[in-house]
Symmetry: C2
Subunit: 344 residues, 2 copies
């Protein structure tokens, strides 16, 4: 089958790799119907040292079950399923607590002989715990939105839940990428009164407004901080969702969060420390969030996606087939595409 590998910064290739087969009785094999490129893929795309082996890419996909191991219950060939961006047994203590990203028997897509999602098929370890059945057909118009349950919509939701967004609360979302926009959508869904979106790509912030942003702040750094403070009477917002991962974004977050407020970090941390000293302590600022346990959220977010109440799939503005996956990476890196859907 064909699959996507990254060999270094800017070097993405689609190559032939062995077809996946059941290796363990807890595996399933899924034929990929839709996958996509993640904003987090852009970090290695910008900086990965050259490698001879390459790295299997992709951690978001939905597809059709083709085969299941002998210990996989509840799934059968032909089922359409979505996979969260880490696989997990859904039964260990961490999973039971809703923290599937720390599953004792789970892991990531790509390394250690596990397929990546940006391929024609995937061997899914811990398939029974990992995969969630989707009650639609393989040609459903809902597939893009359903695919966001793999990562970005669940991740945005995680940021909003962990930062305690609720009716009457205000939230600033830093970053107008797919995760930031999904955080706006999730904040709106949970009743946030005010949703400030910090981003400067008009086409993205326009979608952010459609998703529920009440204010858009294109300025960055000190200017952006000043602007959010003006909008909030000097206080900042109850919640801040940091959906970039850069040092400046985290510095901004600390300057615009209200006393007693919560910063949830979703952007893959490119920083190694956060300037949380005396001042943030006096203000009782909380820093939370992290890798979203998407699996814990899929069932609860699914109904609103199925009935069209929310359309997180609107973050996909570009579709490529397998031959053009490298173009998809380039388009996202150049910011000419917001999020790229891969349709085999």
């Amino acid at each position: 089958m064909r699959a996507t590998l990254m060999y270094g910064a800017g070097d993405v290739r689609v190559e032939n790799v062995p077809d996946p087969k059941i290796q363990n009785p807890t595996d399933a094999v899924v034929r990929v119907v839709r996958s996509c490129v993640c904003g987090s893929d852009l970090w290695p795309y910008g900086s990965m040292p050259a490698s001879e082996e390459g790295r299997r890419m992709g951690h978001e996909f939905l597809g059709v079950v083709e085969d299941v191991g002998s210990e996989v219950a509840g799934l059968k060939s032909g089922d359409l399923v979505v996979a969260p961006f880490v696989w997990a047994d859904n039964t260990c203590d961490f999973c039971t607590e809703g923290l599937h990203t720390s599953c004792r028997h789970g892991g990531q897509w790509g390394p250690n002989g596990v397929d990546g999602g940006q391929g024609e098929a995937v061997r899914v370890p811990q398939a029974q715990g990992t995969l969630v059945k989707l009650p639609v057909a393989e040609d459903s118009a809902l597939l893009p939105s359903l695919l966001t349950l793999s990562d970005v919509y669940c991740t945005g939701h995680h940021g909003v839940v962990t930062s305690r967004v609720a009716p009457g609360k205000s939230v600033t979302v830093i970053g107008d990428g797919a995760v930031g926009l999904c955080a706006v959508l999730a904040a709106k869904r949970l009743g946030a009164e005010r949703i400030i979106l910090m981003g400067r790509h008009t086409d993205r912030t326009d979608l952010g407004r459609d998703f529920g942003a009440t204010d858009v702040v294109p300025e960055r750094g000190e200017e952006g901080i000043e602007r959010v403070r003006e909008l909030t009477g000097g206080d900042g917002t109850h919640a801040v969702v940091e959906a970039v991962g850069a040092t400046q974004a985290m510095d901004t977050a600390l300057s615009i969060v209200r006393h007693g407020g919560v910063i949830s970090r979703l952007g893959v941390a490119q920083y190694t420390e956060i300037p949380l000293g005396f001042e943030s302590m006096m203000g009782n600022i909380t820093v939370t969030g992290g890798a979203a346990p998407a699996r814990a959220y899929i069932e609860q977010l699914l109904p609103d996606v199925l009935d069209g109440t929310v359309e997180p799939g609107r973050v996909f503005d570009h579709t490529v087939g397998f031959d053009r996956v490298p173009d998809g990476y380039r388009a996202m890196a150049d910011r000419t595409a917001l999020k790229v859907l891969i349709q085999p």
Copy 2:
């Protein structure tokens, strides 16, 4: 009246200062019956640059109301009252949310013409919002425990509440000072299953065991981390209460908190940043806590103090009169006293 001033590192003096009088209609004047030295006073005691004016000290006291301004309702001369370690109106939006430390009309004891608590009397701004009446007599044996509602017991409780300690949960308390020991007591009261106390002063950790610690770890740094990990099957604890404020203590906290767990910081931050990078993000670690809104907790913690269910006043192991306040500081700095009660 006499009051305590600090003129620089190691230089504490008791001097005559003007008697407090009502200045604003929202003031009260309280004759101090008990006050004390705080672990946080030791930071300036160790490092304050020499000053000609001196700094009024003390932020924990209880006493008898002597006079009230015309706008103070619910308090009258003769009432025994306890003051939280910041004064607050108890009506603004922050106070209503339980964050009295960020009160829009509140402030600290000591600076800007406000008396410190380590004196014979105190003018209390925003008296109606700040003071809480105590239903005991001035000679009650409960005074030491009631005085801890000013700061250390409420602060320990804040650490435990914000780190989500609950029945079945495990918590590590870093630091065997008065706040750390009160956090142990508060964790026990809230039903923590396992309470690991990190501290190496045996007399203090013995009290910690009395307060509810199930394990004591005297080691620090890598050894201490290793020990807590051993005790918890490698996972760390659900909650960590950091009651020191030093860089090493925060580094330890990050190494012993379980995935999905919460670090609450109570120790006055001597660090300016926390190494919260990629790893803590993948583990969904939360950092919270801060200056405790003691006023928000006093009424709920009071009943158990009054009926003797808890005895946080046991943290006081040394009592001085006003003439010997400097000795009290020295004893705490030398670690020969755990916490020093001042009895005028």
